[in-house]
């Protein structure tokens, strides 16, 4: 009897165990097809379908990332103007935190209530594009709509012959440095580094003289290699090109700094806030960050801000700068592609972006807005300087992506190998050789269609 009771108890426990591991079962469509056109739009369809000549009565759901409440006035103003100019169309704006966007978007698509216009970064855009979830702008947007953007930025969301987003605003990094720490280290604050080699030399001096770190690297191996002059992927998207002399030089350059403790080891697994926090607390001499983040230093550490000087980013071999780009996409499950594309184009057009850039220190992705005198004028304060400096860099800005499906999966060995190399588990030479082979294997699988 006791044995039976224990067996029953074991069964019950097992059932409970299963329940603990059921988290990944949510949101199922029960294994049935969810083809690109199979779902329902999240739009409230209250009138006739567009394009049939009747009066429209359409609500477009517009989702953005972390713009509210700081930019409520700007966003509401633009939306109101669009609604006035387009009678019958209502825009319902929803703002989500950065971390919540991806999951919330997936959930809504799965639940058949996809939004119509969505703000994503390029990484998220490419992942969803690889899953056939986004509208191809090359096919569905007009040449006039597409022509307003910088080509390099527009092509950031390119996959094959398709482009899955309109580029929105972007940020380029400026080089901020603490005058006081430079002076303590015996360095001339009027001579900030112009190359990464000079940055390294100054970081060594700062560490020796003050005990503080010169800078905190924010590692992004795929982009870092690309901007250091390594192709990473061939133009035909069929070959990984990572094991090159330039790559070896970059890997060794970083490893030396890491091994000698010139940069904090914690930078290997820290997020972007780590460097800002350390800079604000006066523990690090320089900060490489977007101009829009200067206000955070100003608010949190006025004394450090007052000692902050701004310079152009030290150049890497490619001569290009990494742009943190925001995109606007239209999910295929939106029922109103045409109207959604029109609104996406409106919120990213010259007028909208220029107005936005005047509110916050970001750069526009449209050619005409970027040429506005606003970006060449300003005072002597760090924020104005950062604006002018980053605007000068804008023409060389690029948001690097491999431009292939399942990019996350393909670059994973690069992230892992980079960490192993820095930690000494593998030599730089072996890291490059092994990683190239691993990435090539994954790329071949993706190109063969079974990734």
């Amino acid at each position: 009897m006791a044995g039976k009771i224990k067996l029953t108890a074991a069964g019950l426990v097992c059932a409970l165990l299963l329940s603990l591991l059921s988290a990944c079962g949510g949101g199922s469509n029960g294994g049935t097809g969810t083809g690109a056109d199979g779902g329902q739009s999240g739009s409230n369809q209250q009138g006739a379908a567009p394009g049939n000549g009747e009066k429209k009565d359409i609500t477009l759901q517009f989702w953005t990332i972390a713009l509210s409440p700081n930019f409520d006035d700007y966003m509401n103003g633009r939306i109101r103007k669009y609604e006035d100019e387009n009678p019958g169309i209502t825009i319902k704006w929803t703002d989500l935190p950065y971390d919540a966007m991806e999951n919330k978007l997936l959930t809504s698509i799965a639940g058949g209530s996809a939004p119509d216009v969505v703000n994503l970064n390029t990484g998220m855009t490419m992942t969803l594009a690889g899953k056939n979830a986004l509208v191809d702008m090359n096919k569905e947007a007009t040449p006039e709509q597409r022509s307003i953007y910088f080509e390099t930025l527009y092509n950031s969301a390119k996959l094959g012959d398709s482009v899955y987003a309109f580029p929105w605003y972007f940020g380029l990094s400026a080089f901020l440095y603490n005058k006081q720490i430079y002076e303590q280290a015996g360095l001339d604050p009027n001579k900030p580094p112009t190359t990464w080699e000079e940055l390294k030399e100054q970081a060594i001096v700062i560490k020796q003289k003050t005990g503080k770190y010169g800078f905190v690297p924010t590692y992004n191996p795929p982009s870092d290699f690309y901007f250091s002059g390594v192709p990473v992927i061939s133009d035909d998207k069929k070959t990984i090109i990572l094991d090159t002399p330039e790559a070896l030089e970059w890997a060794k350059w970083n490893k030396e700094l890491f091994d000698k403790g010139i940069v904090p080891k914690e930078s290997l697994s820290s997020d972007a806030n780590y460097a800002t926090d350390k800079y604000q607390s006066g523990q690090i001499a320089t900060l490489i960050t977007g101009a829009q983040f200067l206000s955070r230093v100003k608010t949190n550490a006025k004394q450090v801000y007052d000692n902050t000087l701004v310079a152009q980013m030290p150049t890497l071999k490619s001569g290009k700068y990494r742009a943190g780009l925001m995109d606007v996409v239209v999910p295929v499950k939106s029922k109103y592609h045409q109207e959604a594309i029109a609104f996406a184009n409106y919120i990213t057009n010259d007028e909208s972006q220029l107005e936005f850039a005047k509110v916050v220190n970001i750069l526009p992705s449209t050619k005409k807005a970027a040429a506005d005198p606003f970006f060449t004028q300003g005072g002597a304060d760090p924020e104005s300087k950062a604006k002018i400096i980053t605007a000068e860099e804008a023409a060389k800005g690029q948001d690097f992506t491999l431009g292939v499906k399942d990019e996350n999966k393909i670059v994973e060995p690069l992230w892992k190998g980079w960490q192993q190399m820095l930690l000494g588990d593998v030599s730089p030479e072996d890291f490059l050789k092994n990683t190239q082979a691993e990435m090539q294997k994954l790329l071949d699988q993706v190109n063969a269609g079974d990734g």
Binding site: C14, L20, E266, K416
Partner: protein
């Protein structure tokens, strides 16, 4: 049932009625997702793309996926915390079972980590582990190390660091269960043993521990389950990739990564299912080999 009296039947009926809301919630939010989730393991479900039935492909992939193998290894290594956490919590329970001054304070103090949010605790521990954190400060002051240690970055230490957080967080919980167990042991048994000349350690070893065995089984089982599917602390402290270089990646975190970063919900369900099967096997074995102990009442 027919042998039950009218009163007993009414009482049983009332008991089932009281169970109904909980059972309904369990059915809706636990068993229904399991039933709907299981078939996913045999599909390429990704929410946004067309879903296809792919049979055993996900299972074959799992057996050839070195990252899953590594994650599973870490999950199983995590079970090493079970004896540590159980022994320490039994000792703590014995300690706080004494009638000492301020004993209520200690009971509460030991229990505070249990009611602290794991996210808050994990973030706080990240600060503790920093190069300029309090742990390095003390180790340097005590002369135990010469250079600060990067607990969060060194691949050999990162997983141990998270394990320590799990132990710290769980001790109070198991201590309370053991305390309840200790207080359910009839005092006359221990007194009789002492009268017969048994020392304090002998009483603990021959009377207390055997009578605590049902509690040890329960706590060990919960602890093993918690260890194998550990998620929160790893995720908060080391992110969805188990940085650095997958050194803290566990099966549950990998499942999350596959689902919510790669959008491969089908494969993630397969990983979840495989881990569930492993936990079931371990649990059945534990039931089978830890039957003894506890009080047996004879009617």
């Amino acid at each position: 049932m027919s042998s039950l009296s009218k009163l007993q039947r009414r009482q049983a009926g009332f008991a089932y009625l009281m169970l109904l809301p909980g059972a309904a919630l369990l059915a809706a939010f636990t068993f229904y997702p399991i039933v709907r989730g299981l078939p996913l393991a045999f599909t390429n479900y990704s929410v946004v793309d067309t879903t296809k039935w792919i049979g055993w492909d996900n299972f074959k992939r799992a057996f050839h996926d070195p990252t899953f193998g590594l994650a599973l290894k870490h999950s199983l290594l995590y079970v090493l915390i079970v004896p540590v956490i159980q022994i320490l919590s039994i000792l703590m329970a014995v300690l706080v079972n004494n009638r000492l001054r301020f004993i209520h304070f200690f009971r509460v103090a030991y229990f505070i980590p249990v009611v602290t949010s794991m996210v808050a605790a994990a973030i706080a521990w990240k600060w503790v582990y920093q190069e300029q954190g309090i742990l390095n400060f003390f180790l340097l002051k005590l002369g135990m190390i010469r250079q600060p240690i990067s607990f969060m970055v060194e691949t050999k230490l990162a997983l141990l660091g998270v394990m320590a957080v799990t132990v710290w967080k769980g001790l109070g919980y198991y201590m309370m269960i053991y305390l309840a167990g200790l207080q359910s042991i009839p005092g006359e048994l221990q007194e009789a043993a002492r009268i017969d000349g048994a020392g304090r350690l002998r009483v603990i070893w021959n009377i207390t521990i055997p009578l605590l065995m049902p509690f040890v089984l329960l706590c060990s089982l919960l602890s093993v389950m918690g260890a194998i599917h550990v998620f929160d602390e790893v995720f908060v402290m080391h992110g969805p990739s188990g940085d650095p270089a997958y050194s803290t990646l566990t099966a549950s975190v990998y499942s999350y990564k596959v689902a919510f970063q790669d959008f491969e919900f089908g494969y993630a369900a397969t990983i979840g299912l495989l881990v569930a099967i492993i936990i079931m096997i371990v649990s059945i074995l534990m039931f089978r080999y830890t039957r003894r102990g506890g009080l047996t009442y004879y009617e």
